[in-house]
């Protein structure tokens, strides 16, 4: 029997028993006050940092996707270059090279660039008013391969054997390698920035937790006196900061996703015009896909977890 029950039994029935509780009685409010000005600014800081991290991750994702697309389309294009030499019939050499290429398995189509087409390709470098008829302009044969990875070794050997010093095969390997290096560098930088932003979030939370501990000294004291251990108090703070982190991270991630969706819609509607095509040629499709959206949401989640864990550690060190 509780002491009050016993005391009341002695004090007669002056106090009627009514076991029903008011339905709206608040019973388990957070032990650490939540909705404070400091809490809201921390949530805003986390939201901004998450937003920036989300933009970095989305951009990295976009570059990675587009680079992969470029690579696969470029890898299907192979060019044969036929150089005119003194005393040689270029057109005959070109026809011979094409015949060799056509026999090669894996070559789907061939297209010969005529002399004037080849000259036009040089225009951006040499200007248009020039008479190139005397210059030994190399002639090109574009080959479209049927698969991504066709062995070009035998074709190269045959070409060199049939037309030594005249025909050469360009599979863009160097260019592809450069593109791949640049894309990986960009993605690496993006991941690095995301990590930096998460570290910044952790630091911001450390300071905010210290501030909250100082601001809630009275609460911490009282919790100690009523028998709460350090770990219990740390959990109470962690719960509060995790909530703030979840709010900030959610808002930031949602804004980043929204930004990509809007950018996708805008470039999508503009890509019918010439400017849109220019943009698309430069940046590829402005589209980050489900994987991109998922990584942004993941960053929001990680930001909340970091917030909770860091605040708990900070409280433990503050109390200990």
């Amino acid at each position: 029997m509780s002491i009050a029950a016993k005391a009341r039994a002695r004090a007669a029935a002056a106090f009627p028993t009514d076991p029903t509780l008011p339905a709206n009685l608040r019973r388990n409010a957070p032990l650490v006050p939540t909705d404070t000005a400091a809490g809201r600014s921390l949530a805003a800081v986390i939201a901004i940092l998450t937003f920036l991290a989300g933009l970095c991750a989305g951009a990295a994702e976009m570059v990675a996707t587009n680079a992969a697309q470029w690579q696969s389309s470029v890898a299907q294009e192979v060019t044969i270059q036929v150089r005119p030499g003194p005393g040689r019939d270029v057109d005959a050499d070109v026809a011979k090279a094409e015949a060799i290429a056509k026999q090669e398995p894996g070559v789907a189509r061939t297209r010969i660039f005529s002399k004037s087409e080849s000259e036009r390709l040089l225009e951006p470098w040499l200007g248009s008013g020039l008479d190139l008829s005397d210059l030994p302009v190399p002639r090109l044969i574009a080959l479209r391969m049927s698969g991504d990875r066709v062995d070009l070794g035998s074709l190269r050997t045959k070409l060199v054997a049939a037309l030594p010093g005249v025909a050469s095969l360009d599979d863009h390997a160097l260019w592809l390698q450069r593109l791949s290096t640049a894309a990986s560098a960009f993605v690496g930088a993006g991941i690095g920035l995301v990590v930096l932003v998460l570290v910044a979030t952790g630091l911001a939370v450390t300071f905010a937790t210290r501030g909250a501990m100082a601001g809630n000294k009275e609460v911490v004291d009282v919790l100690h006196f009523v028998g709460a251990g350090d770990d219990y108090i740390a959990r109470a703070f962690q719960a509060r900061f995790f909530g703030l982190g979840l709010r900030g991270g959610g808002i930031g991630a949602a804004c980043a996703i929204l930004a990509f969706v809007i950018a996708g819609l805008v470039t999508g509607s503009a890509s019918s015009g010439p400017a849109g095509q220019e943009i698309e040629a430069l940046f590829g499709a402005f589209h980050i896909g489900w994987r991109g959206f998922f990584s942004i949401a993941l960053i929001g989640g990680i930001a909340s977890l970091v917030t909770g864990a860091v605040s708990r550690l900070t409280v433990r060190r503050y109390l200990g």
């Binding site: 002491i3 005391a7 009341r8 009275e218 009282v222 028998g227």
Partner: protein, 230 residues
């Protein structure tokens, strides 16, 4: 040292030549020695500024003595670990002179706090808390936040919070300072009831009305010295 007599238990509180000063200030308590027996009931009295609150804080382990030794529940407290400290505090209930209710929690939540921090579920203690709140006359004020309570209501909430976990030792600092004499006597009866159930009670007070109502030991502090009137 083991006692062969089951009744002669270890004292709940034991002070040996305790001296205490705040920072570099004057000595607030000097050479204070006493024991609080299990199941005992006593008043701690003395003029304002005599050091009553300081003595209670020493028992509560919120300040440490500058000289002498303090043992709580038979445990010497110098260099005690924070886990042990938590366990000791769960065996104590405290009514602070300035109440120390948490302003962002309702009266109900404040009173339930000692049970909540022990990890008990809300549905498990709800009945107990409501019953005690009704007994101290706060049945209608359960939702109220402390800033909206009167001084006397705050005091009763603070008392209810100290009693709810049925501690082995109750420390009450001026627990009847803000209530009318009739309510004061009723609260005193609550302390006596708790004492009958086995709790050692120390009440710091100037209130001769309640001291004269009970025939109990009086610890009188004056100018930092303790005198005990049995």
């Amino acid at each position: 040292m083991k006692s062969l007599l089951p009744g002669a238990e270890r004292p709940v509180v034991q002070f040996e030549h305790v001296g205490m000063r705040y920072g570099l200030g004057p000595e607030v308590l000097s050479d204070v020695s006493f024991r609080i027996a299990p199941h005992s009931f006593q008043f701690l009295t003395g003029p304002s500024g005599a050091g009553k609150t300081t003595l209670l804080r020493l028992i509560l382990l919120s300040v440490r003595p500058t000289r002498g030794t303090v043992a709580i529940f038979g445990e010497e407290v110098s260099g005690i670990s924070s886990e042990k400290l938590t366990l000791l505090r769960r065996r104590m209930g405290v009514v602070f002179q300035d109440f120390r209710l948490l302003d962002h929690l309702t009266t109900y939540e404040n009173v339930a706090l000692p049970l909540r921090v022990q990890g008990r579920s809300e549905s498990g203690y709800r009945g107990e808390v409501v019953e005690l709140l009704r007994w101290v006359g706060l049945g209608e004020r359960m939702h109220a936040l402390p800033p909206l309570l009167s001084g006397g209501e705050k005091q009763r909430a603070a008392i209810a919070r100290a009693l709810i976990a049925r501690p082995d030792l109750l420390l009450a600092d001026e627990p009847t300072g803000n209530v009318d004499p009739a309510l004061g006597r009723r609260l005193l009866r609550l302390f006596l009831e708790l004492n009958k159930l086995g709790t050692s009670v120390i009440i710091a007070t100037h209130d001769f009305g309640i001291m004269d109502a009970v025939n109990a030991r009086r610890m009188v502090l004056n100018a930092g010295r303790l005198r005990i009137e049995e």
